[in-house]
């Protein structure tokens, strides 16, 4: 076959470029993030319904129904609301990484194209966590208008606003990192049962429905709750939004939250790298 120098023959497959385009690994990372945002954006209403439903019912039944019927003391919503914001952040973060990772690694193999993209393997995991945290932040943010709608008013202080945002971001990242661990260490055939077994205790030991310092009479449960990183997100938000409710000191919450995020991410990254290089089982 003869090849003409300047004009490639019409319909011929293009050959390799002489020069690679200007590029940095961060461009690849952003492009992958853009893909995830593009896909989620297209299904935004579905996504919203997914993340709102559970906290909405919790808020309605515990915050509204039980207080109106007199089974919960008035003011319980002050305890509950910050806790449910924390729950929405952590849980959405977890769900946005765990199952998608399992599916992409085993059934759809979609992650392959991203693992073959020119950026460090670990950066693909970081992108997954960042994207999941973005979804989680949206879920937490949506809780505010929902809270106003159901409860009439929500505990809020303008002065602690930035700290609340910071704690929500931390909680979202913690949830996403937990999902990274589940999504990479748990074999695909066990992910369904593992998620059920992991999520329920996570929801109910994360101090989202009760203030942790009041658990003095239930010492064992207090200890159990202290082991759940979500406790510090719930307690942190409670301290910032409704300081009159008993809460763990805010600085302790931030320190433990950052510490657990670091540990969870480290474990998750090891799992991701091993999974990506096919070194499991």
């Amino acid at each position: 076959m003869t090849v003409i120098a300047e004009e490639p023959a019409a319909g011929a497959v293009p050959g390799p470029m002489d020069e690679l385009p200007k590029w940095g690994p961060w461009m690849t990372g952003l492009a992958i993030l853009r893909r995830d945002l593009f896909v989620t954006g297209r299904e935004f209403p579905v996504f919203l319904a997914q993340v709102i439903l559970q906290p909405l019912f919790l808020l309605f039944v515990f915050g509204k129904v039980l207080t109106e019927l007199g089974y919960a003391r008035p003011g319980y919503e002050q305890v509950l609301f910050p806790g449910l914001v924390a729950l929405a952040a952590v849980l959405t973060g977890l769900q946005s990484t765990a199952l998608p990772l399992v599916i992409e690694f085993s059934y759809s193999n979609e992650i392959e194209d991203r693992l073959l993209a020119p950026l460090p393997t670990g950066a693909v995991a970081v992108e997954k966590v960042v994207f999941a945290a973005m979804r989680a932040c949206v879920a937490a943010a949506v809780m505010f208008p929902v809270g106003v709608w159901i409860l009439g008013s929500i505990p809020w202080q303008a002065s602690t606003g930035p700290a609340v945002v910071a704690m929500i971001v931390l909680g979202s990242l913690i949830g996403a990192a937990m999902g990274l661990i589940l999504g990479t260490y748990v074999p695909p055939n066990r992910i369904s049962v593992t998620l059920t077994l992991a999520i329920t205790p996570l929801i109910f030991t994360g101090s989202s429905q009760y203030p942790w310092p009041s658990l003095g009479t239930l010492r064992w449960f207090q200890v159990l709750s202290a082991l759940n990183p979500m406790t510090y997100v719930s307690e942190g938000l409670r301290g910032l939004m409704a300081p009159e409710v008993p809460h763990i000191q805010t600085w302790i919450c931030f320190v433990v939250a950052v510490g657990s995020l670091t540990i969870l991410m480290a474990i998750g990254m090891i799992g991701f790298n091993r999974r990506a290089m096919g070194e499991f089982g």
């Binding site: 090849v3 690679l20 461009m27 193999n109």
Partner: protein, 360 residues
Amino acid sequence: MTAAPHDGTGERLVDPGPGAGRAVSPDLDAPAMDASGGVAVEVADLVKRYPKAPVDSLAGVSFRVRRGEVFGFLGPNGAGKTTTIGILTTRIRPTGGRALVAGVDVVADPVGARRRLGVVPQINNLDRSLSVRQNLLFHASYHGVPAAVRNQRADALLEQFGLGDRHNGRPDDFSGGQIQRMMIARALMHSPAVLFLDEPSTGLDPAARLFLWEKVAELKASGTTVVITTHDMDEAAALSDRVAIIDHGTLLALDTPEALVKGMTGERTLDCTVESGPGASATAIGERLAALAGVIQSDLLDDPSGAGWRFRIFVEGEAAAFVAPVAQAISTSGGKLLDVRLGEPNLEDVFIHLTGRALR
């Protein structure tokens, strides 16, 4: 494994390995790269042992692929083809040895290597949330291809791969052959210097296979180096400039398909179908056949079609002259010769010759 220096460039002579049992003609390795051509892929003493595995999946493989060459990797499943491709495409970490793609060390600089290589995997890994065109565009954006270039390129590739009219469809709505075309088009979006095709024609209908072969030829003409793994002899012979035969993690032979077949000059083959009789055993028959004067090798093929055993016998000289002694040998061993075909050796015979077994 012994390795003698082949020439001044450090090319290694290929040893048949302990499993092969027979000597390979001494000049099977690639000649040194010509000064102008350049090397697209270089692999030296590559070793891979998976955790907990009792043996090496790759036991010291060395070869070079010239720039612009179509290089075929031939071997049965589990021979080490996919592991080699996995290492070259930065997806598997080697236990030892060195591998360069387009001059970039895949272990030291996997990111740099990924910019220069394209992969068409065996299984569909298209992004199911995106349309065909979006699959191409996002892939290019991962590789830093500027927006204007990637739009133009996507349109051109969709056209060339016959997907232009369905570019808005989702991957799930397409047939196997079309999925594969999409994956090739996607891999070409960032203009890789080396394209890896892993078992590309598995599960394709004849028309799709021909289309694929055509595209590979076009790629070669465009200057893209193509590395292709296959267990299909016809495909390897039709597409490849050179073929590497690999089994049990060892490179058994490496040359042009013609030269590999020519290496068996003077040899002819007899394919015999034998019906087993009372007290007959395939091993006994095989041994008796191999012991005949002028018989170089006798192999029991892995896939007995129907009731009988199939032997392929390699002989020196005129094959027809061996029909009578072969029939005699079989009947004295208690078997009955049902059918015999005489043939010239092809690539498949080279493979059976080297490994002592059929591919499938």
